[in-house]
Amino acid sequence: MVEKRKLICISCPVGCELTVTIDEDKIIEVEDNACKLGLDYAEQEIFDPRRMVASTVKVKNGYHPLVPVYTEHPIPKPMIKDILVEIRKVEIEAPVKTNQVVLENVLDTGVNIIASRDLPKA
């Protein structure tokens, strides 16, 4: 089954609006891309869209009640909601160090959630 989808490419600030023709699991055509980056973006975004997710986790006895965290690598877009639920369950103890692993291999994605900054004790 052939379908057409519109995407905004975000590889560079231009933001070309691509029209992608897809047949089942293959890209037939990409229109309106100004460069090759658009082709790579379309491929990734259609079949395996990924995002970096940043949020915060609760900290016990820390200088602040929350410490910012993020996914070390982009994770599959459909899993964002469930990953956020997992992040919400976490509570760690201060002090926290930058890049400290706060949640390992979240939901079996192979990606760790790490701390964005140092956070000393209260």
Binding site: I8, I10, P13, V14, G15, R51, M52, V53, A54, S55, T56, Y63, H64, P65, L66, P68, Y70, K77, I80, L84, T98, N99, S116, R117, D118
Partner: protein, 425 residues
């Protein structure tokens, strides 16, 4: 840490601009570098920008704001940058005196050989765009809401409408959604996006949050707390189009309607502001019209990426350090000439050792008491004689002189001070 009276470079603000300036000033060779930050921690606005997108240019990495800040915080502390936290600068004078105040350090007065202004921006407020309605709780600028959500750890409301498609508004739309809130609508008065396309895709499109161009808020309903906003479409002249009104029930209105460079201190210091940018006029080394006062970052004009702010900070830090070091050199270049035994006064009272050339320097003096006999007038450095002259007499009514010749200069340069004594042979 005990505060010094004078610093080579004082940097006001520890966001990306200020931290970069601090690091570069140290690397350029400035000895005493101080950062004054009004928040309790270094990092400025980066601390609440917990999303990725920082460092793509400088580090070739995709970092969240706090991580980006942490790199510079670590480096500045390693380099020996001093800091005053939870401290607000009250006044900067054109003579580069700084008055600041904090709970821990009390009321502080510091002299700076060079200053880098890195105070960033404030947000445009509801009053500045005159949105009608009462003044209920629940109207926030996006940055203030961001602070509550990410740092204080509280959600300001449940159901949100965001006015403005600038980056802060888009980022907050996603952030609030991540924490279980409902963002009903994002409105933009212009016919195009104010922020980065990347943010439109990843903050609004990803979460099906509707964006309406050429729309704005007509009225805020609610007396104690926001109850709804009435929105409407506008024409090219920003006049409301009748019949397009819609009331959206909500309890929070976030405003992302522009940033304004924060230049109150700059004005006080006599820094000339460009009416178009709202920030100081600066040259390529980021120096303002006031010698020794530099400016970098959002305080100069609004940037889109923190990486570019860092680059500007480097320039300002370098320029400030160079200025400060030149000033320091000229300060220690003057050695005092002291009126010694039986001398009332000597003029000149100091010599600038950096400008000693081939010309003689005549010292003029008056003696205290007359000596009606052969008398020496001697110049020495405390240990060794530099020059001496024999007079037949000396009287207070007659001025005496002694000349320092180029042959003496080698000794003069080495001295920390020189003294003129008058005594009988």
């Amino acid at each position: 840490m005990s505060l010094k009276n004078t610093y080579d470079v004082v940097i006001i603000g520890s966001g990306p601009g200020g931290l970069a300036a601090a690091v570069e000033a140290k690397k350029e060779g400035a000895q005493d570098v101080l950062v004054i930050e009004r928040d309790a921690e270094l990092g400025g606005i980066l601390l609440q920008c917990i999303h990725n997108g920082f460092g793509l240019e400088i580090f070739k990495e995709d970092l969240p704001g706090p991580s980006y800040a942490q790199r510079y915080i670590d480096e500045s502390l390693t380099l020996g940058v001093e800091t005053l936290l939870d401290t607000i600068v009250l006044e900067v004078t054109p003579g580069r005196k700084i008055f600041a105040s904090s709970k821990q350090h009390g009321f502080v007065e510091i002299d700076a050989r060079a200053i880098v202004l890195a105070m960033g921006c404030r947000e445009r407020t509801r009053a500045m765009i005159q949105i009608p309605g009462m003044r209920p709780a629940g109207v926030y600028t996006a940055g203030t809401a961001q602070r509550f959500v990410n740092i204080e750890g509280y959600m300001p409301g449940k159901k949100y409408v965001i006015l403005g498609s600038g980056d802060i508004g888009l980022i907050m739309a996603r952030r609030l959604t991540f924490e279980g809130a409902k963002v009903e609508r994002v409105l933009e008065i212009l016919p195009y996006l104010s922020g980065l396309t990347r943010n439109y895709v990843q903050c609004l499109q990803d979460f099906d949050i509707p964006l309406m161009f050429e729309h704005t808020v007509k009225f805020i309903h609610g007396k104690d707390r926001v109850e709804a906003v009435e929105i409407a479409a506008v024409d090219k002249n920003w006049k409301f189009i009748p019949g397009t009104e819609e009331v959206i029930p909500c309890d929070t209105l976030l405003l992302s309607v522009g940033l304004i460079p924060e230049n109150e201190l700059s004005r006080q210091a006599g820094v000339e502001l460009d009416p178009i940018t709202g920030g100081p006029f600066v040259d390529e080394s980021r120096q303002t019209n006031v010698p020794g006062i530099f400016a970098a970052g959002n305080v100069v004009h609004v940037y889109d990426l923190a990486d570019w702010v860092t680059m500007a900070g480097y320039e300002a830090g370098k320029g400030a350090a160079k200025y400060a070091m030149a000033l320091r050199a000229s300060e220690t270049a003057h050695i005092p000439i002291i009126a010694g035994k039986n001398v009332h006064h000597v003029v000149p009272q100091s010599i600038n050792v950096r400008s000693l050339e081939e010309e003689e320097i005549e010292l003029q003096l008056r003696v205290l008491k007359p000596i009606e006999d052969r008398t020496y007038v001697e110049v020495h450095d405390g240990e060794n004689q530099i020059a001496r002259r024999l007079m037949r007499y000396v009287r207070p009514g007659e001025m005496n002189t002694i000349t320092l010749k180029p042959s003496h200069f080698a000794d003069v340069e080495k001295a920390s001070s020189i003294t003129v004594d008058v005594y009988p042979r």
